[in-house]
């Protein structure tokens, strides 16, 4: 495993909810990342963010790690959930709330 994917692996495994995004939760740098943050904020769930713009290795590495070409990317309990379109759809049909619920 490359250095980047080891670091990503640790981030994914050590955080229940982690969002790889452009910018920070306070200052998202792209509309899709902003939408992802808005959904998580609305759900009131604690989450970590990783700013891929601040780390080129992670920015490239996460695409290969998840086999997913775009940012943002959400991981819950070590599982890749998807990007902002999937988050929005799962939020609207209640699935995201289910994933985030304790002992889901």
């Amino acid at each position: 495993m490359s250095d980047a994917s080891q670091r990503i692996d640790a981030l994914v495994k050590n955080n229940d909810v982690v969002l790889f995004m452009k910018g920070t939760a306070l200052f998202p740098q792209c509309g899709f990342s902003s939408r992802a943050v808005a959904i998580l904020d609305h759900l009131g769930t604690p989450y970590e963010t990783v700013d891929v713009l601040a780390d080129q290795e992670i920015r490239q590495g996460i695409k290969a790690y998840s086999d997913w070409p775009t940012i943002p990317q959400l991981y819950i309990k070590g599982e890749f959930v998807g990007g902002s379109d999937i988050m929005m759809e799962m939020f609207e049909n209640g699935e995201l709330q289910g994933l985030l619920a304790p002992q889901a």
């Binding site: 997913w68 070409p69 940012i71 959930v81 990007g83 379109d85």
Partner: protein, 80 residues
């Protein structure tokens, strides 16, 4: 580098010949699209895999040439 809606549709069509595909140019700038793809190939597949199939069809353009594509995928109604 903008892409034409017809090119996006053709790439998806090549990978998913049965699909019903709708592409909307959200801003009229050839750079921000919404795509809806309905295909029987998606039946029983998690959303993440469905989107990955479409991204694969776009052959690496997603995230590069094609920055903004709002994607909705589904299997046809009644197909599980």
């Amino acid at each position: 580098m903008p892409m034409a809606a017809a090119d996006i549709e053709a790439l998806i069509r090549a990978a998913l010949p049965d699909a019903t595909i709708e592409i909307r140019d959200l801003r009229g700038d050839g750079d921000h699209y919404a795509a809806s793809v309905v295909s029987a190939a998606f039946a029983g597949m998690p959303k993440v895999r469905q989107h990955q199939m479409v991204y694969k069809a776009l052959g690496g353009r997603m995230g590069g040439e094609l920055h903004a594509l709002q994607l909705t995928t589904a299997a046809p109604q009644g197909v599980k």
